[in-house]
Symmetry: D2
Subunit: 278 residues, 4 copies
């Protein structure tokens, strides 16, 4: 029976890597359905994402690749299947809603385990889609206490990624470090412009002619994590900050969904504080 897998390799660059890896595929008579490579010369790092198909055992292929790759190589042989995600939100429904519509259409490429929000506003919308919704209020709690309650809900689920669909709270370093390269956020500005609170107000004050949104992995540094996708739209002097916010929502939701789609299809490598997107 034919198997199809995504092979992801990143390691120090070395001569002959493409040859050695493609030899592993050739020796097993595999088809290369697509192949993308990149060498980061500054840091001498090699990245490769190949989709191969044929008759083979995943474990055996994985082992063979490990044999030819450098010792530091990070190798993943992934059979495509739906990932599992947990969504954190607050009150706004556009980014979450965009994900829900794709989910209902069977186009998301992920199972939504649950939605957790610090307000109860979105319960009705989420439950319309038969997805568990947990309201975890933050009032009167320290950040740590609140996150402990959130993590209690999350950890009941096996999941691959946490998606912050306009979750308007800053996560603690402890929370972030518990899920490295697994938390995806949408920031409502064209980062690194307008880091922090109310970027649309900042954009309005600055009088910019273009606004944008940025999807990125979350790290300890606020709005400083590796950028996955960005997009922009023009604005003009007739936009007050609420108009910018309204117009920006379309960009936010589309950029988040695009980034999520890339991540769910194993198309994104994190390389230091940047991403390689194949």
């Amino acid at each position: 029976m034919e198997t199809r897998v995504r092979v992801l390799i990143d390691c120090h660059d070395a001569k002959g890597l493409v040859y050695k890896i493609s030899k592993v595929f050739y020796d097993r008579d595999l088809n290369i359905d697509s192949n993308r490579e990149f060498v980061d010369k500054e840091n001498e790092k090699f990245f490769m994402r190949t989709v191969v198909s044929g008759t083979f055992e995943i474990e055996e292929l994985d082992a063979a690749l490990r044999e030819v790759a450098p010792e530091d190589a990070h190798i993943r042989v992934i059979a495509p299947q739906d990932k599992k995600i947990v969504i954190l939100a607050t009150k706004e429904s556009h980014a979450l809603g965009d994900i829900l519509i794709r989910y209902a259409a069977g186009e998301l490429g992920a199972q939504i385990e649950c939605v957790i929000a610090n307000h109860d506003t979105l319960r009705d919308l989420v439950e319309r889609f038969d997805i568990p919704f947990f309201h975890v209020p933050a009032e009167g709690l320290s950040r740590e206490e609140h996150e402990a309650k959130v993590m209690a809900k999350i950890d009941g689920n096996a999941f691959d990624y946490i998606v912050l669909a306009k979750y308007m709270r800053i996560l603690t370093p402890a929370f972030v470090s518990a899920y490295p390269q697994r938390i995806i956020n949408i920031h409502h500005s064209f980062l690194p412009a307008f880091i922090g609170a109310n970027p649309y107000k900042q954009a309005f004050e600055r009088g910019v002619k273009i606004i944008g949104a940025t999807a990125h992995f979350v790290t300890d540094d606020l709005d400083e994590g590796p950028i996955i996708a960005q997009d922009v739209i023009p604005v003009n002097h007739r936009f007050d900050w609420r108009d910018m916010q309204r117009a920006g929502r379309d960009v936010e939701k589309v950029v988040l969904s695009r980034a999520l789609n890339l991540v769910l299809h194993d198309r994104v490598f994190v390389n230091g504080n940047k991403t390689i997107v194949f």
Copy 2:
């Protein structure tokens, strides 16, 4: 009590129009909250959209404007309130879903009377939002017979606009002429490129590097009606036509919602086969 209205005027261009109209506002001590004008010199037509507020009677203002405007003037004094729309769809959920999420958030600016589809696929999604869904199958019916059944459902509702949210059937001239300038369609190409069936396949065959979507009023000529909004995204040789279709959906839904928002806020004038968008 303060009233706020949108005043829309279009007529043959003539000297003194701005003066005479602004005098009507001034004589009533109204505030001009925003004002946009345009003169189509080729056709000698004048267009104006003004938002005024103050203490006045709508009927009296309307009458006063009629007195100063040319005889052929088309004048509307509109108290902003939610319009009513009917949505026609087929099987795809992205454009419809985008509208539903805005609707649920109270951001659509319209009441959705019902969704009518020639397949039953979208029933579940629509009914999750407590909106009436009518399945009107087309199999075995002539175009006229099918439309008669659709119109039977529609005409039970008072409504302002019909939105074709990826309704994959061509309307008859009779249907179209029953609702002039009231049917809004999203075409999945950057019109006038790729008119007609499966534009993504056409785009793929042609090898374009950018694809787009076009929201337009429906007229008798297929995909030839006045364009309200368009947008595009880049593609490349790695996209097959299904990839283009997938990527294009985000443009389609955003362009349709943007056009709908413009129309619902009375920002669109039809000028021959073009639009003025204020």
Copy 3:
């Protein structure tokens, strides 16, 4: 004989302004060829740009407008004619070259009085277009001493605007304040991201997926003046900072020329630290 002028008015907002101003036009039997207004509600300011034509004296029209406008009104009645500009540059030729090509085609809408550069690199290019080129080296000079030499060259010319076409030196507050709202700069980033030196290197380090350029009036605050125009292009992980620089040049030159064109056609009002662009 028919005269055509641009009327620019900005003042505190007040009821009846449009009426009073359009009455002035109406009383003189003028045609309104185009008309744009904007009210900045936050600051209660009114902006208007009208193109009128007819038989009239500019001074008389100006005086009549002053009579009906608020005392603080800034009124300009401008007979369209080529402005005069001085260009400052350093070594890069793309932004300067774009201006020169438009100039040679008679499409710039401005007379170039001279080009002044702190290196001699661009002399050959500039002199090909029969434009005076002055090399004012900065080596061994304080910023003030250098600028004094530059101003000596500039002030020999009557001019309207100074265009910084990739002039890679920071101007002193004294220089800037000598030409308020008359110095236009192109910054090679999507401001306010990457203020200061080598923005492409900064963009590369940050791993952004989009880069841009910003044309703005120069004020005392580095890269903080009112933005006139911005644009962007996508980049990806395959771009090192020199690739970004190379790709960015096309955006820089087009954005600067677009901003210059707007300014030269009197389409830009400065409103605090923002612009109104009609």
Copy 4:
């Protein structure tokens, strides 16, 4: 001494191609500086562009690659060096001027052999850059007679590509077939919309909200050749067709220069009526 070459291969797809080709590189101890591949599954074609460096003989590498590649393979081992181009133009200077400025800055990556135009308008501009300019008037000549005169000028030069920088004449099939895949045109519309004469007038009549430009290889079918690059800008109801033309020029010149840059760096494969752009 280290040599660096671009290796371009296109052939029928077959299992093991990447392995066999990378083995050739590995056996010669070459560095792979960058590598891009694409498989057109519909037509079972394989495309590869690799930049390799090391100590080797170009002829030997070429021979070795031919040994492992399928018989139908089209293989090029190219030592990067400036190509030679001939430019055809008419009266407009923006696209030509953009190329000239890059040329003068040493950034074009090509030697301009000469500029040939059917009007004398551009002589002054071209000669400012010390490039031969030939005026070949078309009046009173048949298309064939005129092209014979043009070809007489061209064939005096060894050249790689003919660039039509807004050359406003249609070439005969005979001319086109004399230079297959070697003529690059900029069409002033977002093809396939508005094929043929005065696309801006067509765009204006149609009332589009976005206009664009398309760089493509010229084939016998008017404006139907393989597309290399496209870009767009927004327009609105205030643009008459001349405004569209003016605004469109910036897109035209940037798209042509971008396409030219891709072609000159051997980044473009023609695949039937499409391109692969690496």
